[in-house]
């Protein structure tokens, strides 16, 4: 038994195609190889059992009986009763399905039959090509819309992404560039092009860019992350324009964000490694994502993965009014910990209390460790988050509870330098020095961390305050505000919208 299957897509609504095909005796009006067809026995064309008797252009005669017809499935089957062509036991099936995506029609034409030995290939090719494929083209020409030229391009079996503006050209936009390390004045706008994404890449139209203090260090050259000329910035959110053919987790039109090296986030459009980019849930706005991701993911791994904070434990957070510190206070509070903030001014203490710090210690007559022990009935802090570094290290070790844990994750006051770990024995303390990269350097790690952050934001365990918005072109002003400590909450840059970039 030979089976022939041919199928195509016709760029017309299913009703238009079915109107043509439904007429079992009407094929001589559209099929190029059918010269003339008539119905036997005065039956109707939609009467099950009717026989069409037709001559082909080459003179052969064929009689076929209608076996079934379904208007709700847009389908009919028929069999050859007798024919001058040696097709035996021939049953064919014509079936249409709507393509709801684009209001088109899927048409499948199948049959099975036997032939005399040795003629299988020749007759299968005849049926497939001369009958079915020729029929497809004839109907296509009758019903396809005037814009058929474009549809033919879409039908070409190219693996092009669904959305590829300007025929795969680069997207022009604006970036903030530094030509040398230095002050905020080194940040200046420049045209940038985001090329079409290659394999494993995604192209984003960015709508919000996060500003972090590390961006200042990169600009000044204090951190060796940016070699001029280059574009600073570690985090942004936006919309996927297109993605490489092998990218599985992002689709055009989807909102997405990232927070990671390599630098280059200060731009209106960017093409980058798709593995670094995660889709955003509807509940997380672009600006919130850009403002929250780097600091929030940091807080997530500090609280959950460096050392899981348990209910009832006491947690000490330095710089509790800062970007990461404020999130640590909020989140540790919701985890059931007693939160102590360590800060320098009463104004910052108010911010820390508002964020969820149960107590705040400020410099005074008594040392930090004495104040912590006073607040904890001598117990000390089970976990300490210390981003101050050099000046705070010994106080932190002294403030730890028995078998407490010190997380040293920054050095705002300077490098910690060489220390004697023997002092940890006084409380059997443990110490870690986590690096953002090692908690986020695979898509799985980063995605898991970001999802826990988004969940915490949705539940309002963590709130993100956007204190300042600057146009991307004014990134220098954003840096000046950050360095003068004039900012509150997070700072985001808003890139020009597509099409405004050239102005």
């Amino acid at each position: 038994m030979i089976r022939v299957v041919r199928s195509t897509v016709i760029d017309a609504p299913i009703a238009a195609v079915w109107e043509i095909l439904r007429d079992f005796n009407g094929h001589d009006r559209w099929h190029p190889i059918v010269r003339h067809s008539r119905l036997e026995e005065s039956k109707r064309t939609d009467q099950i059992g009717c026989v069409r008797n037709f001559d082909l252009e080459d003179g052969a005669n064929v009689r076929e009986r209608l076996l079934s017809l379904s208007d709700n499935e847009c389908r009919f089957r028929y069999t050859i009763v007798d024919a001058d062509i040696p097709l035996h036991d021939y049953v064919a099936d014509v079936e249409l399905k709507p393509v709801t995506d684009g209001d088109r029609t899927f048409w499948r034409w199948t049959s099975s039959f036997n032939t005399p030995p040795g003629q299988e290939g020749e007759l299968a090719a005849l049926v497939a090509t001369e009958v079915y494929e020729a029929g497809f083209e004839a109907v296509r020409q009758r019903v396809e819309r005037p814009a058929a030229g474009q549809e033919r391009m879409r039908r070409a079996p190219a693996a092009a992404p669904a959305v590829q503006p300007a025929g795969g050209a680069a997207i022009s936009g604006t970036a903030i560039v530094i030509d040398r390390h230095g002050g905020a004045e080194e940040l200046h706008p420049a045209p940038v092009e985001a090329p079409p994404p290659g394999p494993g890449q995604v192209r984003l139209q960015q709508t919000a860019v996060g500003v972090n203090f590390i961006d200042v260090y990169c600009r000044t050259g204090y951190f060796d992350l940016l070699t001029p000329p280059g574009v600073p910035g570690l985090e942004a959110a936006g919309v996927v324009v297109d993605a490489g053919p092998d990218v599985r987790h992002l689709a055009p039109g989807q909102r997405a964000a990232y927070a990671c090296p390599p630098l280059g986030a200060y731009a209106s459009a960017r093409t980058m490694d798709a593995a670094l980019v995660i889709p955003l849930p509807d509940s997380i706005g672009d600006e919130i994502a850009a403002a929250a991701l780097l600091k929030g993911v940091t807080a997530e791994f500090l609280l959950h993965r460096v050392r899981a904070v348990a209910p009832g434990e006491t947690v000490l957070v330095y710089a509790p009014a800062g970007g990461v510190g404020r999130i640590l206070c909020q989140w540790a509070n919701r985890l059931g910990a007693t939160v102590i903030g360590a800060t320098s001014t009463e104004e910052k203490a108010r911010v820390a209390r508002a964020a969820g710090a149960h107590h705040v210690v400020v410099p005074g007559d008594r040392s930090l460790e004495e104040q912590v022990r006073d607040l904890t009935e001598g117990h000390g802090a089970d976990v300490i988050y210390d981003a101050v570094g050099k000046d705070s290290f010994e106080h932190s070790v002294a403030a730890l509870a028995e078998r407490g844990h010190l997380v040293s994750f920054g050095q705002a006051s300077g490098d910690i330098g060489a220390r004697d770990i023997g002092m940890l024995a006084e409380t059997s303390a443990t110490l870690s020095r986590p690096n953002y990269v090692h908690y986020t350097n695979t898509p799985e790690k980063f995605r898991a961390s970001a999802e826990r952050l988004f969940d915490a934001i949705e539940r309002r365990f963590v709130t993100i305050e956007i204190g300042q918005r600057f146009d991307l072109q004014n990134a220098a002003d954003a840096h000046r505000a950050l360095e003068s400590r004039a900012t509150t909450g997070s700072t985001v840059l808003i890139p020009p919208r597509e099409g405004e970039a050239a102005s």
Binding site: V5, R6, S7, T8, V9, K97, P98, V99, T100, D101, G102, R104, F106, R108, E133, F136, R154, R155, A156, P157, A158, A159, A160, P161, A162, V163, D242, A243, P245, D246, V247, R248, H249, L250, A251, P252, G253, Q254, P279, P281, D282, S283, E451, D455, E458
Partner: protein, 145 residues
């Protein structure tokens, strides 16, 4: 009985696309609305009767049982056991068919269910647009349109 029907054309051979969609536990890999998924009881994901438990990007939690899987027809059918959508007797089928003209695939996704009549139109639109069509769009983005 409400019915959803969405179909599309994807620019790659059906056997290739089938490799992605046949894995009953792989929704997070290709359906944008799905965040994470697992198969209950450590069952293989192609064992008919297995249950996938998965979470949507919006936090919604669903459990679905694999009713039928056919490598011959490129077809998978499943029923919802638990969901936040307010549907009953929900059975869906996803099916691929080769388009011999151009190495493409015709993909169709059908669902039938009962629900509160007041929510029916919204559910049909939401399932059709935000789940089925969004998933097809993701396949088109990956494999070509």
């Amino acid at each position: 009985m409400a019915r959803v029907y969405i179909s599309s054309v994807i620019g790659a051979p059906a056997d290739r696309i089938w490799q992605t969609v046949r894995d009953f536990n792989a929704l997070p890999d290709w359906v944008p609305a799905v965040r994470e998924s697992r198969i209950e009881g450590g069952q293989p994901s192609d064992r008919v009767g297995c249950v996938r438990a998965f979470r949507l990007q919006d936090g919604g939690f669903l459990r679905e049982r694999l009713l039928a899987l056919s490598d011959y027809d490129f077809s998978v059918s499943y029923a919802i056991l638990e969901s936040p959508m307010g549907v009953e007797n929900y059975i869906a089928t996803l099916k691929l068919a080769p388009i011999t003209d151009g190495n493409r695939t015709f993909a169709e996704w059908t669902a039938e269910f009962d629900c509160d009549p007041a929510n029916e139109a919204e559910l049909i639109d939401n399932i059709g647009t935000n789940v089925f069509q969004a998933a097809f769009d993701a396949l088109k983005a990956r494999f070509g349109a």
